[in-house]
Amino acid sequence: MEERSRIVLLALAVRLVLAPFFMHAGDVGTIYESSIMALNGQNMYNFVYARTLQMQNAAGIPVFFEGYAYHPLLVYLFVPFYWLFTLIAGTSPVMIDGHYPSLPALIYPWTPVLLLILKLPIILADLVVVYLLAGIDLRKAKIYAFCPYVIFISVIWGMFDAFVAVFLLASYLTSSRSNALSGFFYGLSLLKLYTIVLLPLYLVRLFGRWRALLEFLGGFALTLLPVAYFLVASPTSIWNVLVTFQGTRLMGGVNMYNFIWVVQDLVFDLVVSWIPNVILLVALVVVVPKFGRRAPLLESILAVMFLYFLFGKVINEQFLVSILPLILLSKECDHRLWIAPFVFIFLRSPAYYFALPILWTSPFFYSFYLQADVLWRQLQAAGYLQIPMYAVGVAFSLAVFWNLMRILRSTQAAVAPDSADSRSIS
């Protein structure tokens, strides 16, 4: 068997073994309930918006229900798999509630089956990335295939940034051959919205090449059709969920901004959360025109995404998966960046939380969960976890900054007239 196929199959095997037994209840629960709604023709944005209004009415502050806040296409990647699950297990609920702060009720033996089937599209996305990378460099494919961080996010957490990774990689790889395809894949990478920061880069690069720009925009526009549909069908809901929530949410995550979690004053926190927005805008305005047109696309994409990782106000643990394939392809970047978000996962969420499908199988395990949770909450309440979380956040920001500097320096060297001199100093 050729090495490329062997790596893909091994990557598949590792993921299939883990997938049925772990999950992030909140995120997998969101995909599960959204798939049910989509299959039944219901509008998930209306559901999320209604819950948000309910929460805001109860709390009297601008809190948001954290449910399905993604591109509408996303749910349709899961719906066929959920439908497949209903053919096996029927339509009775298998995972009941699970949105923070509730814990889900899980129904056996169907929960592991549901988890395996719902994670199949994520696993497929991972495998396509591995396959594409293996066609370029086997060593890099192996790194992605067996990176503990990628495996954790995709099959233990059950988060789908692998979709963003595969579509962003495809957009980059097809850019030299077909602008329409590149635009189409870029549009698909917006399943998690944060790659929107790359749009100015693509536009600036194609500016003046009108035919190429039109092709790109044509491919991109295709992916926006579902958004257009929901904007017509339920404008207030989708606007509130995608724009108001995503645009005005509280800063934090694996970055230097998570200190804000210590400041328990939401109105103040939301005001402060505008600081990174402003800095990000300024950074994009400076970097995109200066480097975007002349620098190689790979480095340009990474530079813009690194700027987002530095100044974007919300950087969740899983976001780095989206650009890890591109990081691996770049000679300037250090792929070990994943270590910080990987460590952060276990500071923000207790490890046992991901094992609920195992712990919920027996009252004995459940009591273990309760005991461990008391200890965890004591650590949280005392503030012991916030300190390492902040330290890791700052360290990750600095590591991203270091990689960005390397990219900018190499890019500058490549475009500057006296580039040889520049390289010798760097």
């Binding site: 929460m55 939401l266 309440a381 700052v394 600095l398 500097m405 500058q412 060297a413 500057a416």
Partner: protein, 286 residues
């Protein structure tokens, strides 16, 4: 100046900017706590509220949790950053007109400069719970436009005495003569200190009961029928020993700048040291 020199200078400037940016941001929590948090209600999380003045820290939990409604803490004069639990009102274990306050009412929370206004609504009744803090006390009031029957439970783990009685005197739950003044004592091992607190009721209740639990009393239950009732809670602590260095969540804002400075310094050292190694490897030509 060559482009290489320009690049190096740019990198240096960006590094300085970024280091200052990180460190400056890390001071936001302490600036907030110093200038903005005193004596006002601040909402956060999924709808919880907190209030801090010189003597009291009050937590009112979000609508999805029936505990701490509110939970009143005292800040001892000798350890102002410490928050010692004084009393907790619980909606989990309180009933109005035989309906549980947490499970059987729709709750909405609003604030005004003076108080937290929590509205409990059911088809037959709308009840307000107000929480007002002053430098000396915290007042929790229940108001309704008609008379209502209430069973409230007020918790502390644990009170060493209530109105002069200890668990030695009261081994089983005991109904005490209704009164408008409840005085209790407690101790805090971490701070090596003794505390005293009081609850002043605005009217005589129908029934009062104190509940022993191992080393002290852990709750006081109060039943009343009225259209309004307020509980004015106050407390203080005095040190009897030398407390060891106590860590408290309230100290986090002071620690974050230290963390930021340490991590940034480490980065700068590694960056500089790494370059020195590279320069050494490159030899004198660099």
């Amino acid at each position: 100046m060559t482009s290489g020199e320009r690049g190096l200078k740019l990198k240096g400037s960006l590094t300085v900017f970024f280091a200052i940016y990180i460190i400056a941001l890390s001071f936001i929590p302490i600036l907030h706590d110093t200038f903005l948090t005193q004596a006002r209600w601040a909402g956060y999380g999924t709808g919880a509220y907190q209030y801090q003045n010189q003597h009291y820290f009050i937590l009112f939990n979000d609508p999805y949790d029936g505990s701490s409604k509110p939970h009143i803490h005292v800040n001892p004069d000798f350890a102002p950053a410490s928050r010692v639990s004084l009393l907790e009102f619980s909606d989990w274990t309180s009933w109005v007109d035989d309906h549980n306050l947490f499970n059987e009412f729709n709750v909405t929370i609003r604030t005004n400069p003076q108080s937290l206004d929590v509205t409990y609504a059911r088809p037959q009744i709308v009840l307000h719970k107000f929480v007002e803090a002053s430098p000396d006390s915290v007042k929790v009031s229940f108001r309704c436009d008609r008379e209502f029957k209430a069973h409230l439970e007020i918790w502390r783990w644990v009170m060493t005495s209530i109105n002069g009685m200890t668990v030695k005197d009261v081994p089983k739950p005991l109904s005490i003569a209704p009164t408008t003044l409840i005085e209790f004592t407690f101790s805090d091992d971490r701070l090596q200190s003794l505390g005293q607190g009081s609850i002043v009721l605005s009217a005589l209740p129908a029934e009062m009961k104190i509940w022993p639990h191992e080393k002290g009393f852990n709750k006081i239950t109060i039943d009343f029928v009225n259209s309004e009732m307020s509980f004015t809670v106050s407390g203080s602590m005095s040190s009897v020993g030398i407390p060891s260095l106590i860590w408290s969540y309230a100290m986090l804002p002071s620690v974050l700048p230290l963390v930021a400075i340490s991590v940034v310094l480490l980065y700068l050292l590694v960056d500089k040291y790494g370059r020195t190694l590279k320069n050494r490897a490159a030899g004198p030509s660099s």
